[in-house]
């Protein structure tokens, strides 16, 4: 993975000094809260319901064991022994004191980490496919480009005060695991007819209160133009995006109001007008950054592992874990292991310091020192020999990390909701916990099959509910929590926004409502191979609506 050179280290040290000075000026009263708020947000410090929250950047979700150990240390020393992994592949600490934050940032800097631009109206942490560099279906590793974008966008003088936050995501495979079409800009690595690598570029996607799927603005952008084209998009947005209403300030609204064709023309004109070539990426520099992401030296192994086979035969729980949580690696004899942070009845994305330390140790022993954070709030060991899976599984199980539910109904994305967030209108974590308990990770969950439930505790949609196969949006109606369901959303390459079922459900009834939808699906699917999303796309809303509302209970408004 990427390693800081002296320049990177000096940059982070600069930024740490700058922010420490801002904290001191705030504590001394030289800066007002209004002036300070923007600086603290630009460095990932929020004020939440109970305390400050610090969001630490994990660029494109890649962590080394040393970094994960440091996060465990911070969780233990400055928080309550927990960290919370987020849908932007970041980690949040829920209880740091403002006066301690410069010290925490110093600890992070010692392992090449920071909290720069994890909030604020700037270019946020760049995300990418969590299987990058290991997936069997990958065209090219997106991480070098994500790293180049990360560097270029760090404290960008022109783009620090955008109309609103700005999110970039990259995918290197045709199967989109990074939800690029619901980002401000999404980049998909593709090959053109000449066999050259470039990007299909999507612009204007986003969730929030006005969800939109991105438009493909370029079928093929040569890799050398990555930064120049990104600059053109962000510049048009910076100059023309709305600033009169924060709810209409994202680029998706500009694209919508201006019209996609006019937006494309403006971006292409800006791109063409920039004659400087300053941002062109020479091939040798792409190669230089790519070298950091060279695949680990994996020894050749047979495709079939005898150790795996033997354990499978005698241990159904292990077999279930392998079937569900281990994905196909591009090299025979290896697998991508998803470590679910969704224990049954647990808090999605939470990890204890001990759990983080265990994962760090497993990455060292069995995983070529690589860990990934997925936007689905899980951890991934991307290069594990199939022969080592029994040992990895046993160690995970001992720390409560062997839940076999990756991609199943209890692998739920949930925002922190009203239990932490000052913007939330309803709780979301407890809803996730109850759904998880209802369906668990046993035979029933496996029979239901691929199912993505995503829960947001307010209209800002941090839980990505619009692209959940079943989405749940928590709202407040007359002082009471109400949950709206959406069906048929998807954040992958077939990106669609879910449809609202109808009137919402109470906190008490929402889990029953989800079960009603699931039961209806089980009753109507064409075969066990037809997953929920496919079935919904075939039959539409009507049968689910009927099941939900044409009965005695369930609906409360």
């Amino acid at each position: 993975m990427y390693r800081y050179d002296e320049f990177d280290a000096a940059f982070v040290a600069d930024r740490l000094n700058q922010f420490s000075d801002q904290v001191q000026r705030r504590l001394s009263g030289e800066l007002t809260e209004e002036q300070f708020r923007i600086h603290r947000l630009m460095n990932g410090v929020y004020l939440q319901l109970h305390a400050y929250m610090l969001r630490v950047a994990i660029p494109y979700g890649a962590l080394s064991p040393r970094q994960l150990r440091k996060l465990a240390h911070i969780a233990r020393r400055y928080d309550k022994g927990f960290g919370h992994f987020t849908t932007r592949q970041n980690i949040q600490f829920n209880w740091p004191a403002l006066k301690d934050i410069p010290e925490i940032l110093g600890e992070l800097a010692s392992v090449e980490m920071h909290a720069i631009q994890t909030s604020g109206n700037c270019i946020r942490n760049v995300t990418a496919d969590h299987f990058a560099g290991a997936a069997a279906d990958e065209i090219e590793d997106p991480r070098p480009y994500a790293e180049i974008l990360r560097q270029w966008s760090s404290i960008h003088p022109e783009f620090t005060y955008l109309p609103r936050k700005f999110k970039l995501a990259l995918s290197g495979a045709p199967h989109d695991r990074a939800a690029i079409q619901v980002h401000d800009i999404g980049y998909q690595l593709v090959k053109n007819e000449a066999g050259e690598t470039g990007f299909a570029v999507y612009v204007g996607g986003g969730l929030g209160r006005t969800p939109m799927v991105g438009h493909k603005i370029r079928d093929f952008l040569p890799t050398k133009d990555l930064l120049a084209y990104t600059q053109a998009i962000v510049r048009v947005y910076n100059l023309e995006g709305r600033r009169d209403n924060k709810y209409k300030a994202r680029i998706k609204i500009l694209v919508h109001e201006k019209g996609f064709e006019a937006m494309r023309d403006a971006v292409e004109a800006e791109f063409a007008a920039d004659k400087s070539d300053l941002l062109a990426l020479p091939q040798n520099e792409i190669a230089r950054i790519s070298a950091y992401f060279a695949p680990p030296a994996l020894t050749e192994r047979p495709a079939d592992s005898q150790a795996l086979k033997a354990r499978r035969a005698r241990d159904p729980a292990f077999a279930g874990f392998v079937d569900v949580n281990v994905a196909k690696h591009r090299q025979d004899g290896y697998g991508l292991v998803t470590i679910s942070l969704k224990p049954i009845g647990g808090i999605p994305g939470d990890a204890t310091a001990e759990q983080m330390e265990l994962v760090a140790e497993l990455a060292e022993k069995f995983g070529h020192d690589e860990i990934r954070v997925s936007h689905e709030q899980n951890l991934v060991l991307p290069h594990v020999a199939l022969d080592d899976l029994p040992a990895v599984y046993d160690a995970l199980r001992a720390q409560g990390l062997a839940t076999a539910n990756a991609g199943l109904i209890s692998d739920i994305i949930s925002c922190p909701g009203m239990d932490y967030c000052s913007l939330a209108t309803a709780r979301s974590i407890p809803v996730a916990q109850r759904i998880s308990e209802r369906f668990a990770d046993g035979p029933r969950a496996r029979e239901i099959g691929a199912m993505k439930i995503k829960i947001s505790g307010c209209i800002n949609a941090c839980g990505h509910h619009h692209v959940g196969h079943i989405g749940i949006l928590g709202l407040e109606r007359k002082g009471v929590e109400t949950y709206q369901l959406t069906l048929g959303g998807s954040g992958d390459e077939s990106c669609t926004l879910g449809d609202i079922t109808g009137p919402g459900f109470s906190y008490e009834d929402v889990v029953d409502a989800v079960e009603t939808v699931v039961d209806a699906y089980m009753g109507l699917r064409a075969s066990p191979d037809e997953d929920f999303l496919s079935a919904y796309r075939r039959v539409g809303m009507a049968p689910f609506k009927k099941a939900l509302y044409e009965r005695d209970s369930g609906s409360d408004i």
């Binding site: 705030r26 504590l27 001394s28 009263g29 809260e33 004020l47 939440q48 319901l49 109970h50 305390a51 400050y52 309550k80 927990f82 829920n94 209880w95 004191a97 403002l98 006066k99 301690d100 808090i347 009203m418 239990d419 932490y420 939330a424 709780r427 974590i429 407890p430 916990q433 002082g479 929590e481």
Partner: protein, 97 residues
Amino acid sequence: MPQVISANRLSDGIVVFRAPGGRWVEQLRDAQILPDAGAVKAALGLVEADIRANHVIEVAAFDVAVKGDHVEPVHLRDKIRAKGPTTHPGHGKQAAH
């Protein structure tokens, strides 16, 4: 409806409530109950000095129900603020009970 004034401490962000005499306390049971809008307005006026002195931020009054000695926020959000996350019973103010 009676109200209590809450804020976050600037230095560590912890939720505090305004107590009689203008002190800031961490537990709702120690807070001053303001019986009506007039009392709330007067107290919010006094709090301005604490804001200017950079002791507290995010000052706001919220509704409470009082039964004998017991004070309970009316809205769920304020209940969670006064106790801690419902998902981590060991975290926040509820841990001190």
